[in-house]
């Protein structure tokens, strides 16, 4: 498996996600409503030595990807680690409409659909549900479109969907996702999860490997389920040639110092760190602190 970039800039800061303060989140949302401010952060990060970015397929991602594509000479070397889907969009639609009308909306009612629209006609939902894997492929294609022509290294399934599906314990979903991403897009499949020990155990049981697992890993034990100890046990015994591990939420939303965070992260058998920061100073100190084995 191709080696992961050790340092990846994430996107939480751009989308008003802050586990600590709603006010701070609102402030960030306002600042990054202007895409120029987003690119200022990216440019600062690249100057500090970051070579890879992670981006969720949400509303702002389309414009971000467009600008990256438009300036290929400047950004052509950036490695991409996108994640799909934009879970809030689906959650709201499923809540309002029910799951099948929501899927129908995404696939057939325009918005992001485009090319998929022409592939099959309307009113085929009943047929589609008999082949949920085909339905999944189409949803992936819809979301993947915004990342076309970018240098994608790993393509992730977001934790809300990974963990929801993991609970069902259906092997086909994980197997099919991984195979489809590998075959159609020629990139490494990845899963974001807040249940790393559970997921890794299942993937092993199902014989699915050569995938990346990204999970919340931090000295505070924040969002590490079922426990920090269980994470440490699984990470220590992991074989990175089968599962490369990527840590997210390493600063536990600011509940621990950068020093504490990275003393911990650097001591573990993990291959990559995705972090969020918006000031050049924070980016620089974070990049310098990451010294994975």
């Amino acid at each position: 498996m191709e080696k992961l970039d050790k340092v990846i800039l994430g996107d939480n800061q751009f989308f008003g996600i802050n586990h600590r303060s709603q006010e701070k989140a609102e402030e960030m949302l306002k600042r990054f409503g202007n895409i120029d401010n987003i690119f200022e952060v990216y440019d600062n990060a690249f100057e500090c030595g970051v070579k890879a970015v992670m981006l969720n397929s949400n509303e702002k991602a389309v414009a971000i990807c467009d600008r990256f594509r438009a300036q290929k000479s400047k950004y052509g070397d950036v490695a991409w680690y996108p994640s799909i889907p934009y879970a809030y969009k689906y959650a709201n639609m499923v809540n309002e409409l029910g799951i099948f009308p929501a899927v129908n909306e995404v696939l057939f009612k325009g918005n992001t659909a485009g090319g998929v629209l022409g592939m099959i006609g309307k009113g085929t939902m009943a047929v589609m549900t008999k082949d949920a894997m085909r339905m999944m492929e189409m949803l992936i294609d819809v979301e993947y479109k915004m990342f076309r022509d970018l240098n994608v290294k790993v393509f992730f399934l977001q934790n809300i969907i990974t963990d929801l599906m993991l609970g069902y314990g259906v092997k086909e979903v994980f197997e099919h996702f991984a195979e489809y991403i590998r075959k159609k897009y020629k990139v490494t499949p990845g899963f974001v999860t807040l249940n790393l020990p559970y997921l890794k155990n299942k993937l092993e049981e199902w014989g699915i490997d050569d995938v990346v697992i990204c999970s919340s890993i931090n000295a505070a034990g924040f969002n590490m389920h079922p426990s920090k100890e269980e994470y440490e046990r699984v990470i220590a015994t992991n074989d990175p040639s089968k599962y490369q591990l990527m840590a997210m939420n390493v600063l536990a939303s600011g509940s621990i110092t950068v020093q504490q965070s990275f003393d911990y992260i650097n001591s573990l058998n993990i291959q990559s760190v995705v972090f969020g920061a918006s000031s050049k100073g924070h980016i620089k100190s974070t990049v310098e602190a990451i010294k994975l084995k």
Partner: protein, 328 residues
């Protein structure tokens, strides 16, 4: 299987001592799809057949609220333990009847008032239990969201009270239950008000004042048409004689008039963000509360406990407050 049904299945299926044996849904598409990938689970297109099948010891009821009474009643008759989504019923009389029935049969019964399992509000309950802020004199609770931020077409479950729509059922029920969780049943309800912003058949804003034994008063305000909130905001202010607690979904702050050495709380404000409160759960899907809530239900059955989480009896009090707001 709407959004809650899909979530609950995923969570409870990971409980090591629980086996999922049956699903009932009226959508044939859902049953086809589930049936294909969950071959050991039996699919029913009528909940009555599921309850009669002998395949289940417990059910999770996520139907529209107006059906809760019939489903729960039949489950009780069949000796089946029930976890029922909120709002519990659409009438206080039905809520009481169900609570009586389940208690008589000794079946575990729980309503999905999930904020009881939130780490922050759990901490608030603990602090109140220790009387850290002295005698509570007043509480102010608000729940605001942008759920309905434009004119509503008259379809969809949120535009009908029978299906659990309206700001009082959707959001008021949660804060009224939190008050029940913290302080028990109110003695008097005054100053109730409902108002509309965008909806036609249901209310978008609801207010009430609750008065408790011992004189504590509480203001409740919910508004699901507050477009300034991207995410729902549930906020509590609890004013006591020895201090004050402020809490929301992001953490809590406590003000002590005097230092409390035993609790490590200095005089003045102490602020604890949510990520500083240890909150591990066995399997995370959509926040730890959903998991803790359902595991509590399953464990109560496995450990042969009589009650779990938010019992039907407590949900009766909440139902009474809700309907008082509707009627006054």
């Amino acid at each position: 299987m709407g959004r809650m049904g899909l979530t609950h299945y995923s969570i409870i299926n990971t409980h090591p001592a629980v086996e999922m044996t049956a699903i009932a849904d009226t959508q044939s598409m859902m049953l086809n799809m589930m049936g294909k990938y969950l071959p050991s689970v039996k699919m029913f297109d009528d909940y009555k057949d599921l309850l009669k099948s002998g395949l289940v010891d417990a059910v999770i009821v996520c139907t529209p609220s107006v059906m809760h009474y019939d489903v729960c009643k039949m489950a009780c008759e069949k000796g089946i333990n029930v976890f029922c989504e909120k709002p519990f019923t659409t009438s206080p009389a039905q809520a009481k009847e169900l609570a009586d029935m389940f208690e008589q049969k000794g079946l575990v019964n729980q309503v999905g008032y999930v904020y009881r399992f939130d780490a922050v509000f759990g901490k608030v309950k603990e602090m109140l239990g220790k009387q850290l802020i002295g005698k509570v004199v007043h509480t102010n609770v608000q729940f605001l969201s942008s759920t309905i931020s434009k004119m509503q077409p008259e379809k969809g479950w949120r535009s009908k009270r029978e299906s659990g729509g309206g700001a009082t059922y959707e959001m008021g029920s949660h804060v009224i239950d939190l008050m029940e969780f913290f302080f028990g049943k109110p003695q008097q309800i005054i100053g109730t008000m409902m108002n509309q912003v965008y909806s036609e058949a249901v209310e978008d804003i609801a207010d009430a004042q609750l008065i408790y034994e011992g004189g504590m008063s509480a203001n409740i305000h919910v508004n699901w048409s507050d477009y300034t909130f991207r995410k729902p905001m549930l906020k509590l202010d609890i004013h006591g004689t020895a201090g004050k607690i402020q809490a929301d979904l992001y953490g809590y702050k406590v003000f002590m008039r005097e230092e409390n050495v035993a609790e490590g709380l200095p005089e003045g404000w102490t602020s604890v963000p949510m990520n500083m409160i240890p909150d591990p759960c066995p399997f995370y899907v959509r926040g730890t509360s959903f998991t803790k809530q359902l595991y509590e239900f399953a464990d109560a059955i496995l450990e042969k406990r009589k009650s779990s989480g938010c019992a039907f009896r407590e949900a009766v009090d909440t139902q009474n407050v809700i309907h008082y707001i509707f009627e006054h």
